[in-house]
Amino acid sequence: MKRHDSPRLTAVVWLVRDTFRQSIAHGIFAVLLLVSALSIATCLSLSVDGRATLRQGNQNPDFISRNEADARDAEKLKTSGVVVADGRLTLAFGAIEVPWARDTASAVHFVQLVLAGGVADTLGLLLTLIWTAGFLPSFLEGRNISVLLAKPAPRWVLLGGKYLGVLAFVLFQSIVFVAGTWLAIGARTGFWDPTYLLAIPLLLLQFSIFFAFSVLLAVWIRSTVVCVFGSIAFWCVAWSMNFGRHIMMTAGDMVSTSVRSTYLSGVIDFGYWVLPKPADLGLLLYNALGAGDHFGSALDLGVLESHGFSMLASVLTSAAFGAFALVASARMFEATDY
């Protein structure tokens, strides 16, 4: 009988396919596709227009909203040189009108930010983390895994294959969502800003780090409930450490020295460097998409950097945590008797 040359690769490919089948059977695949389809349909029904061009090069000129009284005084406007922002966004092929104090490009950018930051990064990431948290515990159940353990592929390959399978699933869904909405918005408005596509790798990076912790819980406890709630609780703790540390760092004048030098300060600092940093990863996405023009942020990258913050160090230490969680999971799995 002919034998395959690379059992490890075969195992990984099979596990990736298996994860897609699992997601289809559990309905997660269809639900996420439905969310993407609804978002794409919304984008296809969208149109934006605005006579004024607010952005000139990298400069934003002075402008006022069309709702302001001065906007109706043509003489005053002419002498002041102030531009009236009278952009308009319509949904459902013009049935729903949303007035914006923006120009067209700015309105399109805003829609992209809502989709990437709100729908995909916050809602999508959290829901996917919850839904996929059950994949590993059921895979690792003794009755299911024992035959696979008696196959040539080593255990770390089985665990890594399943992890990659979930990442491939999330990557596929991210591509459908981000690229689909990008194409729909581009087709309707003629704006093809490629920076929006950066959301795909950044979303995957965030997910891969937090899902690694979910894998660790799955190998350790083997309970779906623990994985779901544990992952969410862990995200909250990591976010609190991350956000708290930046607040302490940037609001130094407002926080008394006695508080800053306490044990709590040390714990937060330690937690910040050890744990992944969801707020920083969100900030990375936020800045990559140029959201600063539209939203204020509690965390300003410029201010943080002036206090010694390094985005590269933050991303690397977050990724290091993910790698550590995966290695620890593999070692634990290797030593487990079934």
């Binding site: 009988m1 059992p7 089948r21 059977a25 009755r143 299911n144 035959v147 196959k151 079934y338």
Partner: protein, 273 residues
């Protein structure tokens, strides 16, 4: 002193022990205590014993599903650490469960692929095996709808997909109807006739009597008896655990039905439940 293991056997266990360490929720358990035995090529080898005797632990150790605390093992004439040998082993256990979202075809094909079988050979063999176990017409149905007996037949098909040199069956007839049990017996005999070895762990002593060339009786993690079925069921069963050589021409003495059960019943009564 380094002991040389017999390199020409399907499996060799030399002084194998397995201890599950205790914790604050469970007590320390000695699952296997200094077990040595050898499974030659072309033999159907039965492992029997009361519950918690260590039968399943022994074969799980053989298959790397759990690790020995002590002792040496050889698998298919190769060192224990050589995982490539696992590609030539088929395994069925009593509580086996496959992902419920897979179809029967996907299970057999997928597990065959994991054993290194591929391409047309895999497709052809999957079809033949599903036909053989009577699931050909339900091959593309999700196994979530399968009964326990059907799942066991499917488990048998997946264990055979790689044309194994060693077939390990742990309570394979659990939940099987009469037809499926007959199929199982046919498969075991067929594998033996093809020169493969079969390890059969079973509480169904009638299956063991009919199929096995030699039988090991485990009690409380120790090897209590080992010998051919006719020896164990005979008027003077062998004392101790000195391995008897495999029968040269497999011409067993006819064994009276139930004789094995009668012979080893006292060992069960002495075991810790």
């Amino acid at each position: 002193m380094e002991v040389r293991l017999n390199a020409h056997a399907a499996a060799v266990f030399h002084r194998v022990s397995k201890v599950y360490d205790g914790s604050w929720t469970r007590r320390r358990v000695v699952a296997l205590d200094d077990v040595s035995l050898e499974i030659p090529w072309g033999e159907v080898f039965g492992i029997v014993g009361p519950n918690r005797a260590g039968k399943t632990t022994l074969i799980k150790i053989l298959l790397t599903i759990c690790r020995p605390t002590d002792g040496r093992i050889m698998r298919l004439e190769c060192p224990y650490s050589d995982r490539r040998t696992l590609a030539q082993i088929g395994y069925v256990h009593e509580n086996l469960s496959f992902p419920r979202y897979l179809t029967a075809w996907q299970v057999v094909e997928g597990y065959g692929r994991m054993s290194g079988v591929k391409g047309n050979v895999l497709r052809q063999r999957t079809g033949e095996l599903l036909e053989q176990v009577g699931l050909a017409d339900r091959g593309h149905e999700r196994i979530a709808h399968f009964s326990k007996g059907m799942t066991q037949r499917l488990a048998l098909a997946q264990a055979l997909v790689n044309d194994p040199k060693l077939l390990v069956l742990d309570e394979p007839s659990e939940g099987m109807d009469l037809t499926a049990r007959r199929l199982l017996r046919d498969v075991v005999r067929q594998r033996r006739d093809q020169g493969a070895s079969v390890v059969l762990v079973s509480h169904a002593l009638d299956d063991v009597e009919q199929l096995c060339d030699r039988v090991a009786v485990l009690c409380n993690g120790r090897l209590s008896l080992i010998g051919s079925v006719s020896e164990l069921a005979g008027p003077t069963p062998p004392c101790g655990t000195k391995p008897t050589p495999p029968l040269p021409d497999r011409q067993q003495q006819p064994v009276v039905a139930g004789a094995l059960e009668t012979a080893i019943a006292p060992l069960y009564e002495g075991a810790i439940a």
